[in-house]
Amino acid sequence: MEISKTSTGLKDIVCPDTESTEVDIHAEGVEVVKSLCYFCHANCGVLAYVKDGDVIKIEGDPNYSNQGGLCCRGTSALLHVNHPARVNHALKRVGEKGEGKWEQIPYDQAIQEVADKLNQIKAESGAEAVASAGGTTRTDDFARRRFLNQFGTPNGFHNALLCWIPTFMAETCVAGWSPFETDLGAAKCLIMWGFNPGASTLPGNRGYLDLQKAGLKVIVVDPRYSESASKADLWLPLRPGTDAALALAMLHTIIYEFMYDFEFVDQWCDGFDELRDHVAEYTPEWASEITWLEPELIRTAARMYATNKPGCIQWGCTWDQIGRASTTGSHALALIRAVCGNLDVPGGDGMPGPAINYLTDEELELNELLPEEMKAKQIGSNKFKLTSWPGYQLISDNAKRTWGKTLPSEWFCEAHGPSVFKAIITGDPYQVRALICNATNPINSYGDAKMTIEALKKVEFLVVVDYWMTPTALFADYIFPAAGALERPIIVTHYGATDSVMGGRRAIQPKYDRHDDFTFWRKLGLACGQDPANWQWETIEDAYYEIIKPLGLPVTCWDDFVEYFRMYYPPLHQNKFKHGGFWTPSRKVECNSTILRELGYVGMPTYVGCCENEIDTPEIAEEYPIVLTTGGGFMPYHHSEHFNMPGIRFLYPDPYFSINPVLAEKLGIAYGDWCWLETRRGRIKMRANVEAEVHPNVVFAPRGWWFPERDGSADLDNPFGCLESNVNVLTSVDDWDCDPMGGSWANRGLMCKVYKCTELDHDFTAKDAVWSIPGSSNIPGVTVMPSDQHLDREKIPFEKPQPDFEVPEGYYWVWQDNNLYQKGTHFRLDASGWLINPRTKGYHDAYTGWRYDGNGNCLVDDATGKKYTMEREEIVEICGVRCYPGAEAAPYEFPANLTWDVELGYARLGDKPYIYDPNSGWMFDPATCAYHDANYGYMYDGSQGCLVDLESGKRYSMSYEPMD
């Protein structure tokens, strides 16, 4: 930020020079580049004005979904690019870990050194000893998985388990895909559940406001009177962490007040009766005690949603952050949508399925290169099966059978992050020796920060790719500078979970030695000795172009796609299920999910309380009487980002937790007081925002806080203050607190106590930073090994039905629909003996896999483009005319002046090379495919509508009259 110039001289003193700060975007040489914002998932459109290789100004793209709007974060992009504390060069640690002494080395040298070390670890301890942590989706994730798969390690992970992935998997178990898109324009009711677009997706929020004005009913479920709640028609301020109880009670109400869609349930739901009996006990009265909501309010909400059809339920992060009750809640919600008939219908929750028309992330991941035995070694996959290889395999195979494509393994099939950190500390189940952190600062963004920081200190080899010197980067052996917004092209494919794509161009080449993540993984992969053929794209633009190439748009590179198309939305297909059913193994909405049962879980949502609550754990509630909720997004920050952007930080310099005035008065806390928030696992300090936005027994603490302005190395117990106000000190990642299906750890609905900081007890000390496994504020160290930590729920043994016939070689049997599928392709073997491709619904030959082409009544090998007869004999075609080489007689009639050429297999005119086409009666020149008449072999000239004798050059009319 430019502060007015320091000027000298008398003239400047009496007439100060203060020129306009305005940047002229219409000046000569300024180019407009269509870019995208990169500071949160909303990815708003940005127009970047570039002059001489530097961005001089940006603004919101008025022709994008943000309609010219940009939030604090997006607007700060230029300040981000040029921030003086950005990491600009590859840094190699020269001092002790955490000492903050670095040497700048060339990027490629750093890559080679890291690759050598990784290869050494792989040779000594196996590839699984190398793990990789990620943050949000804002990296080139397919490239990371491409690297990990080729390297041979299954231990890639993100914060995915806190963000949609368990929900996606549960929803997919119910209906075959996640209702990712809402068709709000036609909807009458919207539930925003644990979702606050007012602080997270601002363009979306504007849409909701507009639609609300037009009559959309908006129900907000949030324990806090959030920005979105303040605009809602109905607000359900439930006790934090009790979403599962509320969802089950709403499901109960909808079913027992007969508000579900009878016809839909009858036709498309499997196991509804079981479900009805299962939720009988989950009455609003039962839920009232748990959720602190009046039963009538729960009924009102259920009625509002069920009777204002069609309706949508917008997913919110909360669903995946409640710990052991997470997936129960999202499972129940998936069933609410289903029984109300709101799936895949106009105005309901869309079921886009994977992108059929362009390459999905999964097709770029090279999952086939990861050996089966490595899949089994994925950390956490023996416990949290839904979101790791066991569950992913079932869901992915099913998706290939039903949609024809599948979801990426990145995000949807990952190691359990906290378990990897525990493995680093304990060596259980095996020692993880190297960790590559790409775009993440796990200390602030993963649960149990004290344990996480210990893991980062302890891991033998830590590589960080980041914009900043984060607390995590401080302990790294190598830090690689990452290219940020404006320095990289951006593709938005929503994890590969939907069928639209949006793109943005790189406004400028990365400054200094920064590189985009694709380049990092590619270089690292090549340096590790991976096959260059698997890293065929030199730049990320090339790879993105590869992704959109199948769209068949008239563009030859990624930048042109952005320039001329910018986005691709396939035509909206709804009611797809009416032709072929849902995309579950049974082709119906599975009220009692077979996939969940196969994995050893209950197939129907079965209530479990969040990990600490007054009813199940009264002894905890006695000492920690206040309910704490954490993790919600808040403006102007995003996760643990932007604390070092002064223009943003200025608005919100200190962490504030929200506390109701009634409780504050009881505890003697005034607005702005520094207070300790303490759970069984530790304590942090924040300032009190005394405001009636939370229940009198609830406090809300924002996430992400660290203090980048401090000297990180000065206090290695709490570098950059990363623990002292970090809510993740309070959260729990103990296995029994994690969701047994999805592995989500517990951020919400925890029990805490709150007290004012005093003179004597004001500073966060080393004592407050002591780590432990399991999380405990008074028993340090490892007291229960990870393998000995049980889950909240025992696995339920499931005996998979076996076929009562022999499955032919090359096929497998699916018990749910009693069908055979071809291994590899996952094509269904139809009763007709043909294979059916789920993506195209086309028929394929069971022996060769060739596709049946009804137009030519032939088979087509799509790999080579060659055609075959139904007898699998190759069809020779010249200029689209089928030839029959070797046939003694023509299989069709032809004019008498022609002769049949047995060898070539077509009718000829004298010795002319032309081929007779029995369909049109014309002949073709095989060299040019030009039309020639069958009587004299004259060429047809379309421009004049006449015939030309090529030998003499004479022209004839169509009735062979000579022309001048």
Partner: protein, 192 residues
């Protein structure tokens, strides 16, 4: 004639502070200067019957400004289109205008070099409009929620004229006689 005014729809504002940051970024303001804070008293009322709204602020560009006649150097001035602004070349930063403003919408920075501080305030992005007459102020342009609407009140077809003519709007501290030209559509709460 042209009379620039702004309508702020509090029913749409969600307190995201985007306008504040856009303004400070593009007007290159020193850190401690905020032209357009987004104020809120927080959720008011007794749980759970609470309501919260935001008041996006900026200079009110009063028709009868307090801050212009008091200026001893003529730096604080008003254009014919109603824009009240301070010419940094003429301002000696005596801060009498800062004290005169009933809305607290002016100040001099404490960060800038000690001998080059001048009073700063919202100019309805005068510089941007000088460069491109159709330009909207940055706070308006950046607002995702379309809560800020800028336009010419003297043009009966402008959006602001239509809104002010048809929707009940309020102005801040009207009783002071400053004739503020920022019109608020209040968010009175009271949902179904």
């Amino acid at each position: 004639m042209t009379r620039y005014v702004m309508v702020i729809d509090q029913r749409r504002c969600i307190g995201c502070h985007s306008c504040t940051v856009a303004c400070r970024t593009w007007n290159k303001l020193p850190l401690d200067i905020v032209y357009n804070p987004v104020l809120s008293e927080g959720a008011q009322g007794e749980w759970p019957n609470v309501h919260k709204y935001w008041t996006p602020m900026l200079c009110q560009h009063c028709a009868n400004p307090e801050c212009v006649p008091c200026c001893p150097t003529g730096a604080s001035q008003q254009d014919a289109d109603g824009t009240v602004w301070v010419d940094p070349k003429k301002c000696m930063s005596c801060k009498v205008c800062v004290n005169a403003c009933p809305y607290g919408m002016r100040d001099a920075s404490h960060i800038e070099s000690r001998l080059h501080r001048f009073v700063r305030k919202c100019t309805f992005c005068r510089d941007a409009r000088e460069m491109d007459p159709s330009a909207q102020p940055y706070c308006v342009k950046t607002c995702h929620q379309k809560a800020r609407i800028f336009g010419d009140l003297d043009d009966p077809n402008s959006e602001v004229s239509k809104i002010i003519g048809s929707v009940r709007t309020e102005r801040l501290f009207e009783e002071l006689g400053t004739e503020p030209q920022i019109y608020y559509i209040p968010d009175l709460g009271g949902k179904a």
